[in-house]
Subunit: 295 residues, 2 copies
Amino acid sequence: MDMRPLKHFLALANTLHFGRASDACHVSPSTLSRSIRQLEENLGVSLFERDNRHVALTRQGETFQTYAREALEQWEQLRLSLQSEALRLTGEISVYCSVTASYSFLYALLSQFRTHHPGIELKLHTGDPAEAMARVLAGEEDMAITPRPRRTPEALAFKSLTRAPLVFIAPQQAAAWIPSTPESPSTEQWCEVPMILSEAGLSREFADTWFKALGVTPRIYAQVAGHEAIVSMVGLGFGIGVVPKIVLDNSPLQERVRVLPVKPELPHYDVGLCVLERRLKSPLIRALWDEVQER
Amino acid sequence: MDMRPLKHFLALANTLHFGRASDACHVSPSTLSRSIRQLEENLGVSLFERDNRHVALTRQGETFQTYAREALEQWEQLRLSLQSEALRLTGEISVYCSVTASYSFLYALLSQFRTHHPGIELKLHTGDPAEAMARVLAGEEDMAITPRPRRTPEALAFKSLTRAPLVFIAPQQAAAWIPSTPESPSTEQWCEVPMILSEAGLSREFADTWFKALGVTPRIYAQVAGHEAIVSMVGLGFGIGVVPKIVLDNSPLQERVRVLPVKPELPHYDVGLCVLERRLKSPLIRALWDEVQER
DNA sequence: CCCCTCTGTTGCGTAAAACGCGATATTTGC
DNA sequence: GCAAATATCGCGTTTTACGCAACAGAGGGG
């Protein structure tokens, strides 16, 4: 937007003299004359009553003067406001994650980020981690916490935040089916254990793989959606579960269960932040992305 | 003021698609791309987050969108408002005249003008007619009612409105010094008459000329500023006065005085409207000027 | 009354900018 | 993996803007 015509008009309205006004605007008198004429043609009215010796505002010119002042001020104000807004990185970022993530490392990360960029609003949506990547790919969320998939889609950027070891957990109270030598598991001890596992997801796949290596078909006591619920059921004494250690660490029931030092250990998986690659061009997204340090 | 950048921006903000937006604006995609880029450079912030496949408003873009809508609407509204204002000839005209003129023909003229152009405000200033032309020349008044001067300054336009005959007036009640044969004035009868004349102005000059032709040096009883005051003094019986007949016709004291049918009659002068020639370019002034019909 | 100065406007030549076309790089969907 | 889509860039052409100089008209002073 070229605001010079308005400035030219205001200068002339103030001085009522083409020469002095053109000096003030650092243009030649002819330029200013043509600028005013063009304004008048665009508006369809004459703004100045003038001859070779006198310049006077018309009634319409007076009306336009107040408009021009306001319009120019609004423009400049907007300019400054936009720029400072851009510097302050004002905006909104939505993050999708599991309940556990929101309790644990994500909470620390985001509160640190918030002090660095107080102008950025964070919207935290919790839900099933299995949906995380789909939501980001669909553009419904800016970022998500998700286990690193086997193959990362090309459009996605992924940054590991933490390792999430899987652990076996057993109730604190004694039970006949709790293996006595978890450090060297035997087929006999494990084939009758009531297991509480996830319905789906990496933790379930890893557990299945572990049992397969041992040559055991586990007795599934319950299949649960959500790791948090597994802790609850194990705490109540229904069986042995497999959960990410981080879920355990953040569970209010962690004193009701204990980790079994099973060998070989279950694999861990990477939990990290994912975002659409192209969205990293946004300074907001970029700021949060840069805030997190890999691994 | 070129508002196209704003229109381009709004079109793109609506469609989020350079091709369709450029079609809507009847420009090529490259033009629209450059237009947006230029806007962003002027503002110092990026308005769209875009790559070859996606276009999205940034936070600043959203702020700018509301501004652009308002600014464009204000501009268009102002345009229309100014144009209709120009058509309706809205404005203000100041007219300077004597008290008598404001009572008599000017009142009729202006009330007629007001019905034709209800949008025009008229400001009536009354005062000494001798100052009328000076005030118009100085630009303090748009127009004035004034006796036609001997030589009209070149910068002034003058249009006669009415003839103003000068008359001798005497008190209604008898007085020794009232000439018995005013139809054929004699030097003896007039040399001792107490005269009440204007301090200055055409009426005084004409009266002096009249006496000079008669060969009489009049006895000046009083010199008065303002014809209206002459009527008052004559009505009170102080002497004989010379006033424009029109002043008499509009005087509330006209029954206290009578016109002397003196021969030869005093000359008349033209009373008319005067205005700066160059101010006739203003449609407002022109409208009032054209409303009055000469003589 | 004439001349001189001041001042807004206009013609014109040059410089800059805007514009559209085609090419390009990159991305998405099949 | 390939084809369609699409924002952007390079380039040549057209349009526009700018300043200089000349012009015209209006005051002001001698």
